[in-house]
């Protein structure tokens, strides 16, 4: 990299020298008369257009092929495959347009340089042509819209009733997750009940909270529909899991959701990428303050059996924070003790 910096510095020095030179020539230049419309600069500018645009097309193509594996993110969810297909179709369409228009741009620039012998073609209009290039883009775009809508509708559809619900809450500057526990229901919360320990503001007058648990990493089963129930308790954050093609804002006061099916376990992904340390991660993509760039949580995708086993082994939040039993209304105490798996003492 240092080389590049030096190269940039070198360029700047050359430029500076050139500037000084120009000042001299300018200072000595006679107050000019009107010269011919063009001089030799026209030629080399045309040549540079061809060279630069051509060069950039080649450079882009080279980089795109050579580093393909570095900049593409492997897909690990069912709808992600669709999204990825759409992405590459759009890439193909736009890529062709990009290349063709740029080739035209430099061909025209080179071919039609100014010549006093020639006159430009007076060609103000052609209704038929205009029609063609209104209708064709419209048709192509319609195709893209329709396929996009199809994917969009499936990926935003309601989650089935047997989905695994997992709550993700963003706050400055981390994520917290909560699982429903054995009753399959995530308990109610109220932001006024939040304190340093009860970060979710769980409301213990709701029995569903007794068995909820909050692990430090997210575990999800492969091949099963998972629904993230997303919320925030301070500013807007955004849940972004690049491998799952999943992104949804976490908005204070307005819970959001995203349903998906992961289709590769962490282990499988390690093999696919050849990286034994690979892990799925969730990042924050809505600026939320100082620590925005550090809001990370690990996601572990496992076979359903492993997942169930892991789930069964989790201790409820209440059992880990037994002080909060006092917040449970009297008549529910007994239920709480059983459901939260508290040891009687």
């Amino acid at each position: 990299m240092m080389k590049l910096v030096i190269a940039a510095g070198g360029i700047m020095i050359l430029v500076a020298l050139f500037l000084i030179f120009r000042i001299y020539t300018l200072a000595s230049a006679a107050k000019g008369k009107n010269k011919k419309p063009v001089d030799s600069s026209n030629k080399w500018n045309a040549a540079l257009i061809v060279l630069s645009i051509g060069g950039m097309l080649v450079a882009a193509a080279w980089y795109s092929v050579k580093y393909f594996d570095d900049y593409t993110v492997p897909v690990a969810s069912e709808h992600g495959t669709e999204v990825s297909r759409l992405f590459w179709w759009t890439m193909a369409v736009t890529g062709i347009v990009f290349i063709v228009t740029h080739i035209l741009l430099f061909v025209f620039s080179a071919r039609y340089q100014y010549s006093e012998k020639r006159k430009a073609r007076f060609y103000p209009d052609n209704g038929w042509l205009e029609m063609v290039w209104t209708v064709i883009p419209a048709l192509v775009l319609t195709g893209l819209v329709i396929s996009g809508l199809k994917t969009w509708n499936t990926m935003t559809a309601k989650s089935p009733s047997d989905a695994e619900n997992i709550e993700i809450m963003g706050y400055q500057f981390a994520w917290k997750v909560r699982y429903p526990g054995s009753d399959g229901v995530i308990g109610k919360y109220d932001y006024r009940l939040i304190d340093a320990t009860n970060v979710f503001g769980m409301d213990f007058s709701d029995q569903a909270n007794f068995d909820d648990f909050s692990p430090r990493e997210i575990h999800i089963p492969k091949g099963k529909h998972v629904q993230f129930k997303i919320r925030s308790r301070d500013v807007i954050h955004s849940v972004f899991a690049p491998h799952f093609r999943l992104k949804m804002d976490a908005v204070p006061g307005m819970p959001t959701r995203f349903g998906f099916v992961a289709n590769k376990t962490t282990e499988e992904m390690r093999q696919e990428t050849g990286n034994p340390d690979f892990d799925y991660e969730i990042a924050c993509t809505e600026v939320c303050g100082r620590g925005h760039f550090s809001m990370k949580i690990k996601v572990i995708v496992e076979e359903p059996e492993v997942y169930e086993k892991w789930k069964a082994g989790q201790k409820s939040w209440l059992s880990k924070n037994q002080d909060y039993i006092v917040k449970v209304p009297k008549k529910l105490k007994e239920a709480a003790v059983i459901k939260a798996g508290l040891e009687e003492d």
Binding site: I49, F87, V251
Partner: protein, 615 residues
Amino acid sequence: MAPEAQATLHEADAHGRDHEHEHHEDSFIRKYIFCTDHKMIAKQFLITGIFWAVIGGALSLIFRLQLGFPEMDLAWLQPVLGKWITAQGKLDPEFYLALVTMHGTIMVFFVLTAGLSGTFSNLLIPLQIGARDMASGFMNMLSYWLFFVSSVIMFGSMFVEAGPAGGGWVIYPPLSALPQAIKGSGLGMTLWLVSMVFFIASSLIGSINYISTVINMRTRGMKFSRLPLTIWAFFLTAIVGILSFPVLFAAALLLVFDRSFGTSFYLSEIYIGGEALPNVGGSPLLFQHLFWFLGHPEVYIVLLPALGITSEIIATNARKPIFGYKAMIGSMMGIAFLSFVVWAHHMFVSGMNPFLGSIFMLLTLIIAVPSAVKVFNYLTTLWRGNLVFTPAMLFSIGLLSFFISGGLTGIFLGNSAIDVQLHDTYFVVAHFHLVMGSAAFFGMVAGVYHWFPKLYGRMMDKKLGYLHFWITFIGAYMVFFPMHYIGIAGFPRRYYSFTNFDAFSSFADLNSFVSVAAVATVGVQFIFLFNFFYSMYRGRRAPKNPWRSNTLEWTTPVNPGHGNWEGEIPAVHRWPYDYSKPGASEDFIPQNVPLSETPESNLPHEKKALESKKK
């Protein structure tokens, strides 16, 4: 006939404004400061815009250093940035966000809205439609001075103790509403809002003036169907501005209430700083809807004038009529209209109802059609032209290239299914820097090169212009093209550093490359600045019509005084694009040349019109 001959002027000045030759010297204050002459106001906007561009560019370099060289010791910036450089020589992460926010705000509003529209609408509307000045010179002056006040406040906000606003240029609440959430949401944010209120007022007053001038003050014969595309672009931009800026004002006002008077428009169920706030029932999404109702049209407020400018420059320097004049106007109208119904494509993953997402995806992709039409029309204008590569022409061709590449990536982002992956990643940064940032910036620079002779009566140096163009063009691509890859790889934007994530820890090299390119690209802008200020005083004296162009501004004296034309205002007899007309001896026929003087080149329908007039 000789191309530079004055058109014969017979009829009386259509607007009844007798032009007295004012030979008395204006006082310095009247001439340079509280001036109501549209040309001076244009210069004021331009110089202020250049000032802001330097600041905005400098800010981007600071955060590019952080991104490209995260290990770098930045202690040498301490004299400038003071406490924002930590004892370890690192940039403060919160200040990083403030830099990004200020950079975005400055570039979008102060450089490319005020600097671009303010300069060229003011300069060109009266000159190209044949008017002595704007409809209201006083309002025009007011517009500049409100912008000036706004600039002073925004500039001042960078020096307050807690730092300037830091929630991104889109200032989404609750982040922007709560000083507990980020330091910049304290006094810095207050000043941001106050500054923007002045800015909006300035923009509205300016736009009203532009619109009434275009409607009421066109010279004889200057029908709407004979307006240069520049004027069409400024006119539509002003309409878009009038309809959208008030909504930003409303959004800002409600934010002020939430911040200072305890209301809950945008705030609900917030626990922050160890405390549950009393606000319930507000919706952060409301702000986003209001903001983007301006925010999206704003993109076109930035872009349309640039497209208008380049239409004019490309036609002139291709020595060829712009292809599809009517279609160009139609597509600009289409873009202007559609720009109001696509705003929620910025909100696909905001939690808004997905059905709404489908609708906005449809509308967004529709807007690509008129944009495509424009591109094809530009290309056809180049086809079989007689191209003169002036610096302005090169920058216009550069704009065309950016408009294509940035526009195409918009097709990815407009597709909600794909946007789920790309939203708020560097792909977006790449997209809007090309289509809005670079394109509009190139339009502005092209305009300066092209109309410098009209602004200062002198020519800018061509060779320096070429040098400036080539390094900037290639440099801008080297800065922004790689960001696509970084974005496809999933790197989120507004990140202080990428080392926390395994997924984002690659590309250190590419990021350094981008940063080096950015330093070089910003650096060469000093060539432009040098050329600009040097030529102002020492440049070659400009001929009257240096680009052999058709529009009316080139019929004024080289240094037009108050009132622009010394005699009567020329009348207009044809559209502005009679370049290389078959039969004509020269390759251009200015708008003020009557058909009766060009029998050799009149088209059949023009001959007919002429005859029916005689009868």
